[in-house]
Symmetry: C2
Subunit: 336 residues, 2 copies
């Protein structure tokens, strides 16, 4: 190819079906990226294991659920390669290799890891796999020779650490065997939960699943956090931190009308019922077809599995070629 | 098979050719084990990397050197499977899996690791791969379903940690997918260096290589540490800590005569020259044929490589079957 597309790697831990927060934060971008980039979507079941050895059933059963979500929102397996981490041995091989090129102290300094250790209250009993996962992510990224990685703001240090490892490998090899990586932090911030909490999460019970029924959507919109001080319709209301407007920002195709509604809401005279009715309609219009496609596909899980299997085979060839190339460049023994 | 042989795994880091200390401590046992056990010999280039990223050339060039040593002393590739760690992806896969079943604190408590961190003066800058190597060894061992592991006294904690991981895997799976392991600590202690230091090592310059020439052997015996207080032949001499007697214990086939010589030496009247002459003869007789076979084989490295390649292919099938079995037992996703 004279002008190969840049390679992008994203993916999801297979710990639960995806929700509209995933759509706003990443899936929507992936629909664009699959046209402009060579895109790999990693079903990260091994990474999910790092803090889910107590619930492997969950990690397993969500492999096809997440794949279903991808296909339901319009990921095209001809344009994007959907692949399963635990069936790609070269990722583990590169991980084990990279662990020799990073110190324990450096892993412990990684702000993302430090924050997550704190949040999960691991203390000293952090699983070794969890401490090592920046090296595993470096393996995932470099195995595909990805150069573009969409990440949340809090994950930028992972990319920094990946580039450190890449530079150490290239320096040791004496040639540029791995390209450095650029983090792309999406403009759209993180979608809040319906209760206004910063993080939308199934386990926090504040998410709207991509598979939500019409009734579930309406119920979620009804109980959605707006402006607790906006008691009477004629009072001025606040738009910032108002979940309904955050969702309208993310999903309403008529952004001019959203801006107009914001103005009215701020002035006073626009009730929550009106904006919620609009959001309900917007979400129903968006999620209806997604739900229908998902339901249709879920009746043919053999097809979904075939998509993942074929993607994994494609990914296997690519990642094994990278492992061979890296070990050769480093000067490890090769059979002649 | 109605009575399958027990499986034994041993091997060597590929950081240098082997010496007579390796022979006395392990190779000799392997010649017996290959008759009674299903024996796998792992050329541990990935483990060698954990503290040799600065000298990968050494790790690489010694792969065939160690294999040559095996064949030269009589390891039979029809009876023992010689295989290369970096070409066995399932070892890395199992390692990454096991890292989720062991905490960082537990790895840091491992006495072998603590001692080696201290000895290597890593401090906080210990490579993550080095901290994680007990999990990697558990992967090596279990991948072959080995139940018998010959180890030095200082490595017993590694086996303990392996069994901890095995029990966690079996408990999580709810069935005995991996057999527990027994450490075999050889009766023959560690052979001292020719200068009397406890450890024989090429890098310490106190070793006799299996490939040593006749002159090198004689020179080594001549400068060998005996009893520094045994200045005159008629003085009583000390046998304990006397390297010549340690080597006669290890290599002289006439142990009755060695005991007789020890008595004479202790009484006084037996000179160092006499016992050194005897040891020189013993070592020449032992190493002559080894050196000749080694020289012959080194002229046909294609054959040596073929032995390692075929062993690695055999090992690949076995270890990949284990990975599939373990992930299935744990309930990770499997393609139907």
């Amino acid at each position: 190819m004279s002008h190969p597309k840049p390679v992008i790697l994203t993916g999801d831990r297979t710990t639960g079906p995806l929700h509209i927060g995933h759509y706003a934060g990443s899936l929507r971008n992936r629909l664009r990226f699959q046209l402009s980039h060579e895109q790999y979507l990693l079903l990260a079941d091994m990474q999910a294991l790092t803090d889910n050895t107590g619930d492997i059933k969950k990690v397993c059963s969500n492999v096809l659920e997440v794949a279903l979500d991808y296909l339901a929102v319009g990921i095209d397996p001809q344009q994007s390669t959907i692949c399963l981490q635990s069936q790609l041995p070269a990722l583990a091989e590169l991980s084990m290799l990279y662990l020799n090129f990073v110190t324990v102290a450096r892993l412990e300094r990684n702000p993302t890891i430090r924050e997550e250790i704190r949040a999960r209250e691991f203390g000293r009993d952090i699983p070794a796999g969890f401490l090592c996962y920046p090296a595993a992510q470096a393996a995932d990224i470099t195995a595909f020779k990805a150069t573009v990685i969409p990440v949340g703001e809090d994950q930028a240090p992972i990319i920094e650490q990946t580039n450190e490892i890449i530079r150490r490998i290239n320096t040791t090899a004496g040639l540029v065997v791995l390209p450095e990586v650029t983090a792309v932090i999406p403009k759209s911030g993180r979608l809040p939960g319906i209760n206004g909490k910063a993080k939308m999460s199934k386990s926090l019970g504040n998410a709207i699943a991509l598979s939500a029924s019409a009734d579930e959507i309406s119920a979620a919109v009804k109980q959605m956090f707006t402006d607790p001080k906006h008691l009477r319709i004629e009072d001025p209301g606040q738009v910032e931190g108002n979940v309904v407007f955050s969702y309208l920002d993310a999903f309403d195709e008529d952004q001019d009308e959203v801006e107009h509604l914001k103005t009215l809401y701020r002035q006073g005279g626009l009730g929550d019922a009106v904006i919620k009715r609009r959001l309900d309609e917007v979400l129903q219009n968006f999620l209806g077809p997604v739900r229908d496609r998902r339901a249709l596909l879920s009746r043919d899980l053999g097809y979904v599995q075939q998509v993942v299997r074929e993607g994994t085979e494609r990914a296997r060839a690519i990642t094994e070629a990278t492992y061979a190339e890296v070990t050769r460049a480093l000067g490890l023994f090769q059979f002649q």
